[in-house]
Amino acid sequence: MKGIRLAFKIINTLTKDSFHYPNRLYANMLILVSRLGVLLALYWYVFKLNGGIINGVTFIVVAWSMFFYFSFSNFNLRRISRLIMEDVQSGNVEVFLCKPISYLSYKIWWTFGLGFYNFIFIGFLGFIILALVISVPASMTIGLFIPTLILELILATILTFIIYSIVGLLAFWIEDVNPVFWINDKFVMILGGSYLPVALFPDYLYKIAIYSPFGASMFVSHIVYDSWKVDWLKLMGIQIFWIITLGIFLIWLFKKARGKVSVNGG
Protein backbone atom coordinates (compact mmCIF):
# COMPACT_ATOMS: atom_id res chain seq x y z
CA MET A 1 0.00 0.00 0.00
CA LYS A 2 2.85 2.34 0.95
CA GLY A 3 4.57 1.50 -2.35
CA ILE A 4 1.47 2.37 -4.36
CA ARG A 5 1.06 5.66 -2.49
CA LEU A 6 4.67 6.55 -3.26
CA ALA A 7 4.19 5.65 -6.93
CA PHE A 8 1.13 7.91 -7.22
CA LYS A 9 2.92 10.70 -5.41
CA ILE A 10 5.89 10.50 -7.80
CA ILE A 11 3.71 10.37 -10.93
CA ASN A 12 1.53 13.20 -9.67
CA THR A 13 4.50 15.43 -8.84
CA LEU A 14 6.27 14.81 -12.13
CA THR A 15 3.09 15.32 -14.15
CA LYS A 16 2.59 18.69 -12.46
CA ASP A 17 6.21 19.47 -13.24
CA SER A 18 5.61 18.64 -16.91
CA PHE A 19 2.67 21.09 -16.97
CA HIS A 20 4.98 23.86 -15.88
CA TYR A 21 7.53 23.21 -18.62
CA PRO A 22 5.53 23.08 -21.86
CA ASN A 23 8.76 23.57 -23.85
CA ARG A 24 9.62 19.93 -23.21
CA LEU A 25 6.24 18.88 -24.55
CA TYR A 26 6.72 20.92 -27.72
CA ALA A 27 10.21 19.48 -28.06
CA ASN A 28 8.88 15.94 -27.83
CA MET A 29 6.18 16.75 -30.36
CA LEU A 30 8.84 18.04 -32.72
CA ILE A 31 10.82 14.82 -32.32
CA LEU A 32 7.75 12.75 -33.16
CA VAL A 33 6.98 14.92 -36.17
CA SER A 34 10.58 14.83 -37.35
CA ARG A 35 10.78 11.06 -37.21
CA LEU A 36 7.28 9.83 -37.88
CA GLY A 37 6.17 12.71 -40.12
CA VAL A 38 9.10 12.36 -42.50
CA LEU A 39 8.84 8.59 -42.44
CA LEU A 40 5.13 8.63 -43.26
CA ALA A 41 5.71 11.01 -46.15
CA LEU A 42 8.33 8.63 -47.53
CA TYR A 43 6.19 5.51 -47.09
CA TRP A 44 3.21 7.23 -48.67
CA TYR A 45 5.34 7.82 -51.79
CA VAL A 46 6.78 4.30 -51.72
CA PHE A 47 3.32 2.71 -51.44
CA LYS A 48 2.06 4.92 -54.24
CA LEU A 49 4.88 3.67 -56.47
CA ASN A 50 4.03 0.05 -55.58
CA GLY A 51 0.31 0.36 -56.37
CA GLY A 52 -0.83 0.87 -52.75
CA ILE A 53 0.04 -2.59 -51.39
CA ILE A 54 3.39 -4.06 -50.29
CA ASN A 55 3.64 -7.55 -48.76
CA GLY A 56 -0.15 -7.64 -48.49
CA VAL A 57 -0.47 -4.52 -46.31
CA THR A 58 -1.68 -1.04 -47.13
CA PHE A 59 -0.12 2.30 -46.30
CA ILE A 60 -2.76 3.02 -43.62
CA VAL A 61 -1.88 -0.13 -41.66
CA VAL A 62 1.86 0.55 -41.90
CA ALA A 63 1.37 4.18 -40.87
CA TRP A 64 -0.58 3.19 -37.74
CA SER A 65 1.93 0.49 -36.88
CA MET A 66 4.73 3.06 -36.99
CA PHE A 67 2.59 5.54 -35.08
CA PHE A 68 2.15 3.10 -32.20
CA TYR A 69 5.87 2.33 -32.24
CA PHE A 70 6.95 5.95 -32.11
CA SER A 71 4.26 7.02 -29.63
CA PHE A 72 5.33 4.31 -27.22
CA SER A 73 8.95 5.18 -27.87
CA ASN A 74 8.07 8.78 -26.96
CA PHE A 75 7.17 7.56 -23.47
CA ASN A 76 10.94 7.32 -23.13
CA LEU A 77 10.93 4.49 -20.59
CA ARG A 78 14.38 3.51 -21.80
CA ARG A 79 15.89 6.51 -20.02
CA ILE A 80 15.85 4.39 -16.85
CA SER A 81 19.20 2.92 -17.98
CA ARG A 82 20.83 6.34 -17.97
CA LEU A 83 19.17 7.39 -14.71
CA ILE A 84 20.62 4.34 -12.97
CA MET A 85 24.01 4.91 -14.60
CA GLU A 86 24.07 8.54 -13.45
CA ASP A 87 23.25 7.47 -9.90
CA VAL A 88 26.11 4.98 -9.95
CA GLN A 89 28.58 7.42 -11.50
CA SER A 90 27.67 10.27 -9.15
CA GLY A 91 27.54 8.03 -6.09
CA ASN A 92 23.91 9.02 -5.37
CA VAL A 93 22.99 5.36 -5.46
CA GLU A 94 24.43 5.08 -1.94
CA VAL A 95 21.86 7.53 -0.65
CA PHE A 96 18.99 5.77 -2.40
CA LEU A 97 20.01 2.35 -1.14
CA CYS A 98 20.03 3.59 2.45
CA LYS A 99 16.43 4.78 2.17
CA PRO A 100 13.56 2.52 3.26
CA ILE A 101 12.23 2.26 -0.31
CA SER A 102 13.03 -0.12 -3.13
CA TYR A 103 15.60 1.62 -5.35
CA LEU A 104 14.47 -0.10 -8.54
CA SER A 105 10.76 0.55 -8.08
CA TYR A 106 11.52 4.17 -7.16
CA LYS A 107 13.49 4.60 -10.41
CA ILE A 108 10.79 2.84 -12.41
CA TRP A 109 8.02 5.12 -11.11
CA TRP A 110 10.24 8.15 -11.56
CA THR A 111 10.90 7.27 -15.21
CA PHE A 112 7.22 6.50 -15.71
CA GLY A 113 6.26 9.87 -14.23
CA LEU A 114 8.77 11.75 -16.39
CA GLY A 115 7.25 10.47 -19.63
CA PHE A 116 3.62 9.91 -18.69
CA TYR A 117 2.23 13.37 -19.54
CA ASN A 118 4.11 13.52 -22.86
CA PHE A 119 3.00 10.04 -23.81
CA ILE A 120 -0.69 10.65 -23.06
CA PHE A 121 -0.88 14.14 -24.53
CA ILE A 122 1.17 13.58 -27.68
CA GLY A 123 -0.21 10.07 -28.19
CA PHE A 124 -3.80 11.32 -27.98
CA LEU A 125 -3.16 14.32 -30.21
CA GLY A 126 -1.26 12.22 -32.73
CA PHE A 127 -4.02 9.63 -32.72
CA ILE A 128 -6.66 12.22 -33.60
CA ILE A 129 -4.53 13.89 -36.28
CA LEU A 130 -3.61 10.60 -37.92
CA ALA A 131 -7.23 9.37 -37.80
CA LEU A 132 -8.40 12.58 -39.46
CA VAL A 133 -5.65 12.63 -42.08
CA ILE A 134 -5.41 8.99 -43.16
CA SER A 135 -8.43 7.38 -41.37
CA VAL A 136 -8.26 4.15 -39.36
CA PRO A 137 -7.89 0.62 -40.72
CA ALA A 138 -10.64 -1.97 -40.21
CA SER A 139 -8.44 -3.84 -37.72
CA MET A 140 -8.76 -0.93 -35.31
CA THR A 141 -12.54 -0.94 -35.33
CA ILE A 142 -13.07 -4.44 -33.93
CA GLY A 143 -14.16 -4.87 -30.29
CA LEU A 144 -10.94 -6.61 -29.36
CA PHE A 145 -8.79 -3.62 -30.27
CA ILE A 146 -9.15 -1.29 -27.25
CA PRO A 147 -8.91 -3.97 -24.50
CA THR A 148 -5.90 -5.64 -26.11
CA LEU A 149 -4.27 -2.25 -26.76
CA ILE A 150 -4.50 -1.39 -23.05
CA LEU A 151 -3.25 -4.81 -22.02
CA GLU A 152 -0.47 -4.65 -24.58
CA LEU A 153 0.66 -1.21 -23.37
CA ILE A 154 0.88 -2.52 -19.81
CA LEU A 155 2.90 -5.59 -20.81
CA ALA A 156 5.16 -3.57 -23.14
CA THR A 157 5.80 -1.05 -20.37
CA ILE A 158 6.78 -3.76 -17.88
CA LEU A 159 9.04 -5.56 -20.35
CA THR A 160 10.70 -2.33 -21.50
CA PHE A 161 11.41 -1.38 -17.89
CA ILE A 162 12.92 -4.78 -17.18
CA ILE A 163 15.17 -4.79 -20.27
CA TYR A 164 16.46 -1.25 -19.76
CA SER A 165 16.84 -1.68 -15.99
CA ILE A 166 19.13 -4.64 -16.67
CA VAL A 167 21.20 -2.42 -18.96
CA GLY A 168 21.26 0.31 -16.31
CA LEU A 169 22.37 -2.08 -13.55
CA LEU A 170 25.41 -3.05 -15.62
CA ALA A 171 26.74 0.37 -14.55
CA PHE A 172 27.68 -1.26 -11.24
CA TRP A 173 30.30 -3.24 -13.17
CA ILE A 174 31.23 -1.20 -16.24
CA GLU A 175 30.23 2.36 -15.17
CA ASP A 176 29.60 3.65 -18.70
CA VAL A 177 26.66 1.64 -20.05
CA ASN A 178 26.10 3.86 -23.08
CA PRO A 179 27.58 1.41 -25.62
CA VAL A 180 25.41 -1.43 -24.27
CA PHE A 181 22.43 0.93 -24.25
CA TRP A 182 22.95 1.89 -27.91
CA ILE A 183 23.25 -1.68 -29.10
CA ASN A 184 20.25 -2.82 -27.05
CA ASP A 185 18.29 0.17 -28.32
CA LYS A 186 19.06 -0.65 -31.92
CA PHE A 187 17.89 -4.24 -31.45
CA VAL A 188 14.59 -2.86 -30.16
CA MET A 189 14.51 -0.38 -33.03
CA ILE A 190 15.07 -3.01 -35.71
CA LEU A 191 12.97 -5.82 -34.26
CA GLY A 192 10.25 -3.51 -32.94
CA GLY A 193 9.34 -2.30 -36.42
CA SER A 194 10.44 1.33 -36.36
CA TYR A 195 11.70 2.47 -39.76
CA LEU A 196 10.83 -0.87 -41.32
CA PRO A 197 7.41 -2.12 -40.15
CA VAL A 198 7.23 -5.79 -39.12
CA ALA A 199 4.89 -6.55 -42.02
CA LEU A 200 7.76 -5.88 -44.41
CA PHE A 201 10.19 -8.17 -42.58
CA PRO A 202 11.53 -11.28 -44.30
CA ASP A 203 10.33 -14.50 -42.70
CA TYR A 204 13.39 -15.24 -40.56
CA LEU A 205 13.58 -11.68 -39.23
CA TYR A 206 9.89 -11.78 -38.35
CA LYS A 207 10.49 -14.93 -36.30
CA ILE A 208 13.42 -13.30 -34.47
CA ALA A 209 11.24 -10.23 -33.84
CA ILE A 210 8.52 -12.35 -32.30
CA TYR A 211 10.62 -14.64 -30.15
CA SER A 212 13.27 -12.19 -28.92
CA PRO A 213 12.67 -9.93 -25.90
CA PHE A 214 13.67 -6.88 -27.96
CA GLY A 215 10.90 -7.38 -30.49
CA ALA A 216 8.48 -8.49 -27.77
CA SER A 217 8.88 -5.18 -25.96
CA MET A 218 7.39 -3.47 -29.01
CA PHE A 219 4.47 -5.75 -29.85
CA VAL A 220 2.36 -2.64 -29.65
CA SER A 221 3.38 -2.05 -33.29
CA HIS A 222 1.72 -5.39 -34.25
CA ILE A 223 -1.67 -4.41 -32.95
CA VAL A 224 -3.02 -2.90 -36.19
CA TYR A 225 -2.33 -5.90 -38.42
CA ASP A 226 -5.17 -8.26 -39.36
CA SER A 227 -3.21 -11.16 -37.88
CA TRP A 228 -3.52 -9.56 -34.41
CA LYS A 229 -6.99 -10.97 -33.76
CA VAL A 230 -5.57 -14.49 -34.21
CA ASP A 231 -2.08 -13.99 -32.76
CA TRP A 232 -2.67 -11.64 -29.82
CA LEU A 233 -2.87 -14.37 -27.21
CA LYS A 234 0.32 -16.05 -28.46
CA LEU A 235 2.20 -12.75 -28.63
CA MET A 236 1.15 -11.72 -25.15
CA GLY A 237 2.14 -15.18 -23.91
CA ILE A 238 5.63 -14.61 -25.31
CA GLN A 239 5.74 -11.23 -23.61
CA ILE A 240 4.70 -12.73 -20.26
CA PHE A 241 7.38 -15.40 -20.66
CA TRP A 242 10.05 -12.71 -21.14
CA ILE A 243 8.68 -10.63 -18.28
CA ILE A 244 8.99 -13.59 -15.90
CA THR A 245 12.38 -14.78 -17.18
CA LEU A 246 14.04 -11.39 -17.40
CA GLY A 247 12.26 -10.22 -14.25
CA ILE A 248 13.90 -13.03 -12.26
CA PHE A 249 17.25 -12.17 -13.85
CA LEU A 250 16.77 -8.50 -12.96
CA ILE A 251 16.10 -9.31 -9.30
CA TRP A 252 19.18 -11.55 -9.19
CA LEU A 253 21.30 -8.88 -10.90
CA PHE A 254 20.08 -6.19 -8.52
CA LYS A 255 21.04 -8.34 -5.52
CA LYS A 256 24.52 -8.80 -7.00
CA ALA A 257 24.77 -5.06 -7.73
CA ARG A 258 23.80 -4.16 -4.14
CA GLY A 259 26.58 -6.41 -2.96
CA LYS A 260 29.09 -4.35 -4.92
CA VAL A 261 28.21 -1.04 -3.26
CA SER A 262 30.35 0.15 -0.39
CA VAL A 263 28.73 2.98 1.56
CA ASN A 264 31.38 5.24 3.02
CA GLY A 265 29.17 7.66 4.87
CA GLY A 266 30.55 11.07 5.78
Binding site: N23, I31, V46, P179, W182, L196, F201
Partner: protein, 264 residues
Protein backbone atom coordinates in the same frame (compact mmCIF):
# COMPACT_ATOMS: atom_id res chain seq x y z
CA UNK B 1 44.11 33.34 -38.19
CA UNK B 2 46.94 30.77 -38.09
CA UNK B 3 47.28 31.38 -34.36
CA UNK B 4 43.58 30.63 -33.87
CA UNK B 5 43.80 27.39 -35.87
CA UNK B 6 46.91 26.36 -33.92
CA UNK B 7 45.03 26.92 -30.69
CA UNK B 8 42.02 24.93 -31.96
CA UNK B 9 44.30 22.03 -32.91
CA UNK B 10 45.97 22.18 -29.50
CA UNK B 11 42.54 22.10 -27.77
CA UNK B 12 41.45 19.12 -29.90
CA UNK B 13 44.69 17.27 -29.06
CA UNK B 14 44.18 17.88 -25.34
CA UNK B 15 40.55 16.75 -25.55
CA UNK B 16 41.57 13.49 -27.23
CA UNK B 17 44.35 12.88 -24.71
CA UNK B 18 41.94 13.52 -21.85
CA UNK B 19 39.36 11.07 -23.25
CA UNK B 20 42.01 8.41 -23.81
CA UNK B 21 42.87 8.45 -20.14
CA UNK B 22 39.70 6.44 -19.52
CA UNK B 23 40.87 3.80 -21.97
CA UNK B 24 38.22 1.12 -21.49
CA UNK B 25 35.36 3.58 -21.61
CA UNK B 26 36.92 5.27 -24.67
CA UNK B 27 37.28 1.98 -26.57
CA UNK B 28 33.82 0.76 -25.57
CA UNK B 29 32.29 4.01 -26.78
CA UNK B 30 34.11 3.84 -30.10
CA UNK B 31 33.31 0.17 -30.76
CA UNK B 32 29.77 0.42 -29.37
CA UNK B 33 28.89 3.32 -31.64
CA UNK B 34 30.34 1.60 -34.71
CA UNK B 35 28.21 -1.50 -34.02
CA UNK B 36 25.20 0.66 -33.22
CA UNK B 37 25.36 2.31 -36.65
CA UNK B 38 25.09 -1.02 -38.46
CA UNK B 39 21.39 -0.96 -37.53
CA UNK B 40 20.66 1.82 -40.01
CA UNK B 41 22.38 0.03 -42.89
CA UNK B 42 20.54 -3.13 -41.97
CA UNK B 43 17.14 -1.41 -41.85
CA UNK B 44 17.41 0.43 -45.13
CA UNK B 45 18.93 -2.54 -46.96
CA UNK B 46 15.88 -4.57 -45.93
CA UNK B 47 13.69 -1.67 -46.95
CA UNK B 48 15.16 -1.85 -50.46
CA UNK B 49 14.70 -5.63 -50.49
CA UNK B 50 11.06 -5.28 -49.43
CA UNK B 51 9.90 -2.42 -51.60
CA UNK B 52 12.36 -2.69 -54.48
CA UNK B 53 14.55 -0.03 -56.11
CA UNK B 54 13.16 3.47 -55.61
CA UNK B 55 14.52 6.53 -57.36
CA UNK B 56 17.38 4.39 -58.73
CA UNK B 57 18.67 3.69 -55.18
CA UNK B 58 20.17 0.25 -54.62
CA UNK B 59 21.58 -1.39 -51.49
CA UNK B 60 25.04 -0.12 -52.51
CA UNK B 61 23.78 3.45 -52.33
CA UNK B 62 22.41 2.82 -48.84
CA UNK B 63 25.91 1.83 -47.72
CA UNK B 64 27.33 4.98 -49.33
CA UNK B 65 24.63 7.11 -47.70
CA UNK B 66 25.46 5.76 -44.25
CA UNK B 67 29.15 6.28 -44.92
CA UNK B 68 28.72 9.95 -45.81
CA UNK B 69 26.45 10.66 -42.84
CA UNK B 70 28.52 8.80 -40.27
CA UNK B 71 31.85 10.25 -41.40
CA UNK B 72 30.68 13.89 -41.60
CA UNK B 73 28.86 13.56 -38.29
CA UNK B 74 31.79 11.75 -36.70
CA UNK B 75 34.31 14.40 -37.72
CA UNK B 76 32.22 17.31 -36.47
CA UNK B 77 30.80 15.82 -33.30
CA UNK B 78 34.11 14.33 -32.20
CA UNK B 79 36.30 17.40 -32.52
CA UNK B 80 33.67 20.15 -32.33
CA UNK B 81 31.44 18.59 -29.68
CA UNK B 82 31.41 21.97 -27.94
CA UNK B 83 28.74 23.27 -30.32
CA UNK B 84 26.34 20.63 -28.98
CA UNK B 85 27.08 21.79 -25.44
CA UNK B 86 26.11 25.42 -26.05
CA UNK B 87 22.62 25.00 -24.47
CA UNK B 88 24.25 23.59 -21.33
CA UNK B 89 26.83 26.41 -21.22
CA UNK B 90 24.12 29.03 -21.62
CA UNK B 91 21.77 27.51 -19.04
CA UNK B 92 24.46 27.12 -16.39
CA UNK B 93 26.10 30.43 -17.12
CA UNK B 94 29.40 28.79 -17.93
CA UNK B 95 29.40 30.49 -21.31
CA UNK B 96 31.06 33.38 -19.46
CA UNK B 97 34.46 31.73 -19.65
CA UNK B 98 34.31 31.65 -23.45
CA UNK B 99 33.22 35.27 -23.65
CA UNK B 100 36.17 36.28 -21.51
CA UNK B 101 38.68 34.31 -23.56
CA UNK B 102 40.81 36.37 -26.00
CA UNK B 103 40.53 33.58 -28.59
CA UNK B 104 38.00 33.32 -31.44
CA UNK B 105 34.67 32.66 -29.72
CA UNK B 106 33.29 30.08 -32.14
CA UNK B 107 36.51 28.06 -32.30
CA UNK B 108 36.93 28.26 -28.53
CA UNK B 109 33.37 27.02 -27.88
CA UNK B 110 33.44 24.37 -30.60
CA UNK B 111 36.68 22.80 -29.40
CA UNK B 112 35.72 22.89 -25.73
CA UNK B 113 34.47 19.29 -25.68
CA UNK B 114 35.13 15.98 -27.38
CA UNK B 115 32.98 12.92 -27.99
CA UNK B 116 34.77 9.54 -28.09
CA UNK B 117 31.68 7.80 -29.44
CA UNK B 118 31.74 10.05 -32.51
CA UNK B 119 35.14 8.51 -33.35
CA UNK B 120 33.16 5.27 -33.69
CA UNK B 121 30.85 7.06 -36.13
CA UNK B 122 33.82 8.28 -38.15
CA UNK B 123 35.40 4.80 -38.27
CA UNK B 124 32.07 3.31 -39.30
CA UNK B 125 31.76 5.99 -42.00
CA UNK B 126 35.22 5.17 -43.39
CA UNK B 127 34.38 1.44 -43.45
CA UNK B 128 31.05 2.07 -45.22
CA UNK B 129 32.62 4.36 -47.81
CA UNK B 130 35.43 1.85 -48.44
CA UNK B 131 32.88 -0.93 -48.97
CA UNK B 132 30.82 1.39 -51.18
CA UNK B 133 33.91 2.28 -53.22
CA UNK B 134 34.74 -1.39 -53.65
CA UNK B 135 31.19 -2.29 -54.69
CA UNK B 136 30.83 0.47 -57.29
CA UNK B 137 34.44 0.01 -58.55
CA UNK B 138 35.25 3.58 -57.65
CA UNK B 139 37.48 5.65 -59.95
CA UNK B 140 40.09 8.28 -58.98
CA UNK B 141 37.72 11.10 -59.93
CA UNK B 142 35.02 9.61 -57.75
CA UNK B 143 37.45 9.35 -54.81
CA UNK B 144 38.20 13.07 -55.19
CA UNK B 145 34.45 13.68 -55.27
CA UNK B 146 33.98 11.66 -52.06
CA UNK B 147 36.71 13.57 -50.22
CA UNK B 148 35.31 16.96 -51.29
CA UNK B 149 31.76 15.96 -50.47
CA UNK B 150 32.76 14.82 -46.98
CA UNK B 151 34.42 18.18 -46.36
CA UNK B 152 31.30 19.99 -47.59
CA UNK B 153 29.05 17.68 -45.54
CA UNK B 154 31.12 18.32 -42.43
CA UNK B 155 30.88 22.08 -42.99
CA UNK B 156 27.08 21.82 -43.27
CA UNK B 157 26.93 19.66 -40.13
CA UNK B 158 29.02 22.20 -38.24
CA UNK B 159 26.90 25.10 -39.50
CA UNK B 160 23.62 23.44 -38.59
CA UNK B 161 24.93 22.46 -35.17
CA UNK B 162 25.95 26.08 -34.56
CA UNK B 163 22.62 27.50 -35.82
CA UNK B 164 20.45 25.03 -33.91
CA UNK B 165 22.36 25.13 -30.64
CA UNK B 166 22.64 28.90 -30.94
CA UNK B 167 18.85 28.96 -30.51
CA UNK B 168 19.49 28.34 -26.82
CA UNK B 169 20.24 32.07 -26.44
CA UNK B 170 16.58 32.77 -27.25
CA UNK B 171 14.82 30.21 -25.02
CA UNK B 172 14.80 29.22 -21.38
CA UNK B 173 15.48 25.49 -20.75
CA UNK B 174 16.46 25.16 -24.42
CA UNK B 175 18.37 21.87 -24.45
CA UNK B 176 15.35 19.66 -25.15
CA UNK B 177 14.17 22.09 -27.83
CA UNK B 178 17.54 22.30 -29.58
CA UNK B 179 17.84 18.49 -29.38
CA UNK B 180 14.50 18.14 -31.14
CA UNK B 181 15.37 20.62 -33.87
CA UNK B 182 18.67 18.82 -34.37
CA UNK B 183 16.73 15.55 -34.72
CA UNK B 184 14.57 17.20 -37.36
CA UNK B 185 17.73 18.00 -39.30
CA UNK B 186 19.57 14.75 -38.53
CA UNK B 187 16.85 12.13 -39.07
CA UNK B 188 16.45 12.60 -42.86
CA UNK B 189 20.21 12.36 -43.34
CA UNK B 190 19.91 8.65 -42.52
CA UNK B 191 16.84 7.98 -44.67
CA UNK B 192 16.71 6.30 -48.04
CA UNK B 193 17.51 9.15 -50.45
CA UNK B 194 15.45 7.77 -53.32
CA UNK B 195 12.23 8.09 -51.35
CA UNK B 196 12.56 11.88 -51.13
CA UNK B 197 10.85 13.53 -54.04
CA UNK B 198 8.97 16.73 -54.90
CA UNK B 199 8.12 18.83 -51.87
CA UNK B 200 10.03 16.69 -49.34
CA UNK B 201 13.17 16.81 -51.50
CA UNK B 202 12.87 20.57 -51.86
CA UNK B 203 12.33 21.14 -48.11
CA UNK B 204 15.18 18.87 -47.02
CA UNK B 205 17.57 20.34 -49.57
CA UNK B 206 16.95 24.07 -49.43
CA UNK B 207 15.21 24.80 -46.13
CA UNK B 208 16.70 22.10 -43.90
CA UNK B 209 19.85 20.93 -45.71
CA UNK B 210 19.69 17.30 -44.52
CA UNK B 211 19.95 15.79 -47.99
CA UNK B 212 23.13 17.77 -48.71
CA UNK B 213 24.93 15.65 -46.11
CA UNK B 214 24.58 12.21 -47.68
CA UNK B 215 21.70 11.57 -50.08
CA UNK B 216 22.67 14.11 -52.75
CA UNK B 217 26.42 13.41 -52.31
CA UNK B 218 25.73 9.69 -52.92
CA UNK B 219 23.86 10.55 -56.11
CA UNK B 220 26.63 12.97 -57.07
CA UNK B 221 29.33 10.31 -56.78
CA UNK B 222 27.21 7.78 -58.60
CA UNK B 223 26.38 10.06 -61.52
CA UNK B 224 29.68 11.99 -61.42
CA UNK B 225 27.72 15.23 -61.42
CA UNK B 226 30.01 18.28 -61.37
CA UNK B 227 26.94 20.46 -61.24
CA UNK B 228 25.81 18.88 -57.96
CA UNK B 229 29.34 19.00 -56.54
CA UNK B 230 29.59 22.74 -57.15
CA UNK B 231 26.09 23.28 -55.83
CA UNK B 232 26.83 21.39 -52.57
CA UNK B 233 30.18 23.20 -52.18
CA UNK B 234 28.61 26.64 -52.63
CA UNK B 235 25.68 25.62 -50.41
CA UNK B 236 27.99 24.51 -47.61
CA UNK B 237 29.82 27.85 -47.51
CA UNK B 238 26.55 29.78 -47.63
CA UNK B 239 25.31 27.79 -44.63
CA UNK B 240 28.61 28.42 -42.81
CA UNK B 241 28.28 32.15 -43.44
CA UNK B 242 24.68 32.14 -42.20
CA UNK B 243 25.66 30.11 -39.12
CA UNK B 244 28.49 32.48 -38.13
CA UNK B 245 26.31 35.57 -38.63
CA UNK B 246 23.41 34.09 -36.68
CA UNK B 247 25.66 32.93 -33.87
CA UNK B 248 27.27 36.35 -33.51
CA UNK B 249 23.82 37.95 -33.35
CA UNK B 250 22.56 35.32 -30.89
CA UNK B 251 25.48 35.79 -28.51
CA UNK B 252 24.40 39.41 -27.98
CA UNK B 253 21.36 38.09 -26.15
CA UNK B 254 23.45 36.23 -23.62
CA UNK B 255 23.19 37.51 -20.08
CA UNK B 256 26.27 36.82 -18.03
CA UNK B 257 25.94 34.51 -15.03
CA UNK B 258 22.27 33.96 -15.65
CA UNK B 259 22.23 31.06 -13.22
CA UNK B 260 22.52 31.18 -9.45
CA UNK B 261 25.92 29.53 -9.39
CA UNK B 262 27.55 32.38 -11.32
CA UNK B 263 29.18 29.98 -13.76
CA UNK B 264 31.32 26.95 -13.02
Amino acid sequence: MMKEIKFALYAIKKNIQSSRELRTSFLMNVIGMAINNIAFVFLWVYFVKSVGVIGGWTTYDIIGLNGFTALSYGIIVSIFMGTKKIPEYVTTGSFDRFMLSPKNLILRVATSAFSPSAIGDAIFGIICLSVYGFLIHITIVQIIFVVLLIIFGAIIFFSMSLIINGLSFYFVDASSFTDSVFQLFMTPTLFHGGAFHGVTRFIFTFIIPSLLIAAIPTETVKNLSFHNLIYIGVGSFIWLYIAIRLFKNSVRRYESSNFMTFGN
